[in-house]
Symmetry: C2
DNA sequence: AATAGATGGTTACATCCGTAACAAACTAGG
DNA sequence: CCTAGTTTGTTACGGATGTAACCATCTATT
């Protein structure tokens, strides 16, 4: 009779760890700015690239276009993001952060960096092995 | 001007990898048995422990009690799970798999084990470092 | 230039999920 | 006992999500 230890099963463990880290990270910035994860990803992408269409944001941040669409609208309503018509292709709208949005971004980024460093430090001697393993896993599952 | 590379940010990468692995694993058994992730977790937990209350299942599989409640009902409707009254405490119901449910379980477990081994093999020389790192991460975030 | 198909983006719908409220049953202090 | 508080489990509700349908616009073929 073959059994499986769920608590040792790789997909289960990764899912749990990922959820715990996302939850913890959201608490890091959530105390100051109330943001959902999709909103944070759009903010982070626009903070990184200045100007982008919704499609490109979705591609870069691995989000479904409806998720992007809703996050963009939410950020726009908060005046953290503005749209500009694209002259080359009038279906597309070029998105960018407002001054207010950029202020939020520059406030969160140091917290994000510190959060990440806190994890790497806590990992101790195992830390150098984490990133190559993540590279490998992304390659195995063709996560672009 | 500090920026953040979202695609290199640890919470983001872990979330993406975890989602990809869950998706891939669901495809492994989903072709044969249609199951949601919570249903699979309840099935796996009862396959492992024979008899359990809903509370204990939730604790062992890290699921909210409402998630457990709904998954249990779905499995019960498929006749993969049965309830039995607990004499010591009549609030609780003791849950266990039916013969049909156990058949599904013993069908899925080898696929799950093979899936996990496929990942570990694909990881190659990095593989031995993965499990200690997961242990560490679970400890850091007090994932029980 | 006209039409057919492809593409960027939004929205309706169904589903899933957690919070909060709840019922039923247990426990402990008086 | 009996009442107050706790615990197990279900459910109503609001919020989030993906599928599919949709609109507007672009592109390619004729």
């Amino acid at each position: 009779m073959t059994k499986l230890q769920l608590e040792a099963f790789l997909p289960y463990r990764l899912n749990r760890i990922s959820a715990a880290i996302s939850h913890e990270f959201r608490a890091v910035y959530g105390r100051h700015h109330d943001l959902t994860v999709p909103e944070w990803r759009v903010l982070a992408t626009l903070g990184q690239f200045e100007e982008m269409g919704a499609k490109a944001i979705g591609h870069h941040s691995s989000m479904h276009k409806t998720k992007v669409s809703r996050a963009v609208r939410a950020l726009e309503e908060r005046r953290w993001l503005k749209r500009r018509e694209c002259e080359d292709d009038r279906r597309e709208e070029i998105l960018s952060l407002t001054a207010l949005g950029r202020k939020t971004y520059t406030d969160i980024v140091p917290r994000a960096v510190a959060f990440e460093r806190r994890i790497m430090t806590a990992l101790g001697p195992e830390a150098p092995f984490l990133l190559p393993i993540l590279d490998q896993l992304e390659e195995i599952f063709r996560v672009p």
